[in-house]
Amino acid sequence: MWRIFQFLGKFGNIILFLFLELVALLIITSVNKPHREVSQGIFLEISGNFSEFQASIGSYFGLSTENEKLLEQNRNLHKELLEVKDSLRTYKFRRPTNAEYLLLPDSLRQNSVPIDSTMVEAVIPDSLFPAKGYDFLPCKAINNTVSRNYNYITANKGSRHGVKEGMGLISPQGVAGQVVAVSQNYCLAQSVLNKKFNLSAKIKGNKNVGNITWQGLAPEYATLEFIPQTSIIHVGDTVITSGFSTTFPPEYMIGTVKEFDAELQDGFFTVKVNLSTNFRGLDNLYVVTHLLKPEIDSLENRFPKE
């Protein structure tokens, strides 16, 4: 006890000085808006560095399961790619008029085979397909929560790599979140498991667009609302993004229908969606960049809303 007093007598002034300055700094960085923004950027950078160190240890132990997942994903992608190629390369179209026929590229002209008097089947070369317009920047989740009402994901790519606020974040299994804050090397994304998260979605094979939200209970399930009761739904149907925004690629996986009910007499189903992304084990992620987003935005902003 005496030692403590002795210590305080010796260093009391320094401790008090540091304490008072710390309190003053806390006041400055919490009350004033510009100071708060600067300090939040610094804190995000520091905690990002630390979390990345932690995650790098964790991901080393998870390598084998991650490997298996990647292999499986690779296999599925290959299969899908072959199917898509098959379905696209032979294309039926109306028999061209003479003028149109002259405008066709050579490769098409040679490869077209008449089926009947009105239709022609042709093999379309790969070069004629425009790029899909999306770029995927691989990154790693270095911090993630699932148990709060407002969950966030920290990933290790930032403004230096071209990440901007509002970009989408996807995992190989499905949609994961949306970027809300960016520092130089890290970005912070609102998880799907966040009560503020909002995403337009539809059920595969069905044109009606609804709304994905999360009610704050289990991290496995989200809710799809505003699907009209006239549409036909089965348990196990796939729920995909609608493509009405540039945040996520269209028809990207969100989850599957777990159950649905029409209890409310408002003409809409409330669908419980089993999310395909495993939020408890996020590791490899992709930041989605829409390459033509500036063009779309400038077009949409040309006329005032309302």
Binding site: L20, E21, N32, H35
Partner: protein, 172 residues
């Protein structure tokens, strides 16, 4: 009169002057006189440093609260920094042995040259901390230094005037 009551009264006079008069006297949007520092700098030298730092913190915080257009908390941080340097700075060029009066009157019996030596560096220290905290970045360093320089000269001029008018006295 009780010394505490007297000092609190002095503080309120300085607070009112600072908030209602000198905060409005900003020149060219860069130079502002922070004359409430004189209250802190003229506190008796025989008070314990820990107590002085607490006084500086709360005095700075009060001025922060009542300065409507300024960011909050910066005077508190800067004033504590200035106060922690004060005692050492007084001891640097004051020969305590050649001074025979009561210690609490040490600050009231000096001449203008001594006051200049005493006030200017401490005011400069406060303003440096204050304006860097206000900017909170190192972009635009030129403007920050301009503000520090002009405000220091402005504050110092008014403070030395007030010192010679009101605080120097009680000569014995």
């Amino acid at each position: 009169m009780n010394i505490y009551v007297k000092q609190i009264a002095i503080f309120f006079v300085y607070l009112l002057l600072q908030v209602f008069v000198f905060n409005q006297l900003t020149l060219f949007d860069v130079a502002t006189p922070h004359i409430f520092l004189l209250f802190l700098l003229m506190l008796p030298v025989n008070v314990r440093l820990s107590f002085l730092m607490l006084i500086a913190f709360f005095a700075g915080l009060t001025v922060d609260l009542f300065s409507l257009n300024a960011f909050k908390g910066m005077h508190a941080a800067a004033a504590v920094l200035m106060m922690s340097a004060r005692t050492t700075w007084v001891n640097v060029f004051t020969n305590r042995f050649s001074y025979h009066g009561a210690e609490e009157y040490l600050l009231q019996v000096q001449d203008a040259a001594w006051y200049s030596k005493y006030l200017f560096p401490l005011i400069l220290l406060h303003h440096t901390a204050y304006y860097f905290l206000e900017a909170f970045s190192f972009e635009n360093v030129g403007l920050i230094f301009l503000k520090i320089g002009t405000s220091t000269v402005y504050t110092f001029g008014i403070c030395i005037l007030l010192t010679l008018l009101f605080h120097q006295g009680n000569k014995r």
